[in-house]
């Protein structure tokens, strides 16, 4: 018999430069509300997965720190790394454990404390998240640099302008301003975006997600456990799609699409029985991986929301705002909510769980009709991709 996997608790810390808390305190901040929402006891948790990329933060065994801090010592654990998709990889790990019957309750906690290092060090470390020897050692690529290579190709192909990309920033800051957990809670204008400094041409500071600290916790449970304990209103994980791409960017065939996103989406749609032509009717709300503005446009097209070359047009028409065909990143996205690498994928699930339960702040609640939501989480520059579909009825 197919074992269903439900989300029974989901919460996020405040995202931002969190110099006011240490690693343990940051983990605790999302765990406490998540387990209290689930209404279970710590002893019910059999295994905890910690999504964390690290290197910039001092603790080398983050899962063990989390275990001691949250009174989970003695339970099974591991740290999961899939770059910026570590959070989704963590969810996949917990999901598989429950689906296969090896556990009934798993905590997935994504956490990143990037500001324990100075900004130039963080820029250096993220720049190495590709192919270290052939692309970093000799040519000093940076994370924005990798996405800039996609942006240049995309803008050229579809005859678009830098200003068009700024519309992503404007939308996501608009919603970030309405999310009290977001790193940036202020709106920005096209002019501010256009006047911000170049990071890697054609991408500017306001095309980029910030260096953020944050944690997010999701408690997964089997249908059995949920029924046995009379837990009401779980969110179900319908499917998780996944793929990877080459480490060397030079080995990609084009720079107009992330192949891994396309493949991850296809798997997720197939497993959940959604056909591509009914996507916009079925999915009520989505969180997509907008580490840079160009990434959100690529996501619209790679996920099949809009046709190739029509992502910018759809955005400008308001199709990805609330009330549009498919509201995207109502949390503020990575751009405004912030991008604490390991926490990002988990926080997407937290956000969508709240959206599906119609439980987010005023001004950023999607209209929930079918009870279906989609999370798209990319690691590196399409090096990893995960697409997760949630349902709630």
């Amino acid at each position: 018999m197919e074992r269903k996997v439900g989300i029974i608790g989901a919460a996020s810390s405040k995202f931002g430069v969190r110099n006011d808390v240490n690693f343990s305190e940051l983990a605790f901040e999302s765990f406490k509300p998540a387990i209290e929402e689930a209404g279970i006891d710590t002893k019910d948790i059999e295994y905890f997965v910690v999504s964390n990329t690290g290197a910039w933060s001092s603790e080398q065994l983050p899962a063990i720190i989390v275990g001691e801090s949250l009174n989970l010592v003695g339970k099974g654990s591991l740290r999961v790394e899939a770059a910026c998709a570590s959070g989704s990889a963590g969810i996949k790990t917990g999901y598989d454990m429950i689906k296969s019957g090896s556990a009934d309750v798993v905590l997935v906690l994504g956490i990143e404390k990037m500001n324990e290092s100075q900004t130039p060090t963080v820029v250096e470390l993220i720049g190495r998240a590709g192919n270290y020897f052939w692309e970093f050692e000799h040519f000093g690529l940076t994370f924005p640099g990798y996405y800039a290579l996609y942006a240049t190709a995309y803008l050229n192909k579809y005859n678009s302008k830098e200003e068009d990309l700024c519309h992503v920033s404007v939308k996501n800051h608009y919603y970030g301003a309405r999310n009290p957990k977001a790193h940036f809670q202020r709106e920005v204008t096209i002019e501010e975006c256009m006047n911000s400094k170049y990071v890697a041409w054609p991408l500017k500071l306001l095309d980029s997600s910030p260096i953020t600290d944050g944690s997010a916790s999701v408690i997964l449970a089997s249908e059995d456990f949920i029924k046995r304990n009379g837990i009401k209103e779980p969110i179900w994980i319908k499917s998780i799609g996944y793929s990877t791409d080459t480490s060397n960017l030079s080995k990609r065939s084009d720079f107009l699409s992330l192949r891994s996103s396309v493949e991850a989406a296809e798997i997720a749609y197939k497993k959940s029985g959604i056909s591509k032509d009914e996507l916009l009717r079925k999915i009520d709300v989505a969180e997509v991986h907008d580490c840079f503005t160009i990434a959100e446009i690529l996501a619209y097209e790679d996920l099949g929301f809009f046709k190739r070359g029509e992502g910018i047009k759809a955005l400008k028409e308001g199709q990805t705002y609330t009330g549009g065909k498919i509201p995207v990143n109502l949390s503020g996205g990575l751009k405004a909510k912030g991008h604490p690498i390991g926490a990002t994928g988990v926080s997407m699930i937290v956000e969508l769980s709240k959206q599906l339960k119609r439980n987010v702040e005023k001004g950023r609640q999607a209209d929930i009709k079918n009870g279906l939501a989609l999370a798209h989480n990319v690691g590196g520059t399409g090096h990893y991709a995960y697409v997760t579909i949630l349902s709630f009825s």
Binding site: F139, G140, P144, G145, L149, S250
Partner: protein, 169 residues
């Protein structure tokens, strides 16, 4: 008495708690600094670097399935053969995409802002490298390029670079 105060003052200077002025919170500035420098094996592909000294751009080609590898590798990912031969690439290609890095990694901060491109060579192999032209308005996707060995200063080692055949005027 005064010497005791001096000792205390001195201690205070070395005390690792600093205040993040913007947020008014206390941070412990770790006293243990880590320096990382990797030793990466190039034993099986050292011919590539010898080729650069002669201004040649070398790749490896699988003798069994004909797959070409750039960057060069000593084994075939495709058919798992370890019989690969060295071939010289044409160096002629066209620009697929490019960028200019303004916010550089700290280990690249001693260079001027640099342009990076990906070119597709005649053989269908892509190469990512710095572009000799730093002025973005002179670059265009689709422009003809060639690859040349240049000496990377101040380190003084040979590395391949993308040279536009003619610039946008």
């Amino acid at each position: 008495m005064s010497s005791q105060i001096e000792v205390l003052e001195k201690k205070k200077k070395q005390y690792p708690i600093i205040i993040d002025q913007k947020r008014n919170v206390a941070l412990w500035e770790s006293t243990r600094e880590l320096k990382l420098k990797y030793l990466v094996s190039v034993e099986k592909i050292k011919k590539f670097f010898e080729g650069l000294l002669e201004n040649k751009l070398l790749a490896t080609k699988c003798e069994k399935c004909n797959e070409i590898y750039f960057p060069p590798q000593s084994f075939c990912s495709n058919c798992r053969s370890t019989e690969l031969k060295w071939i010289e690439l044409s160096k002629e290609g066209e620009l697929l995409t490019f960028t200019k890095i303004f916010v550089k990694p700290s280990s690249f901060s001693h260079y001027e802002d640099y342009t990076i491109g990906i070119v597709r060579l005649r053989e269908g192999v892509n190469v990512l490298a710095w572009i000799s032209e730093k002025n973005l308005s002179k670059l265009k996707i689709g422009m003809k390029t060639r690859i040349e060995t240049r000496i990377r200063e101040p380190e003084g080692y040979p590395i391949y670079e993308i040279i536009p055949e003619e610039l946008v005027s």
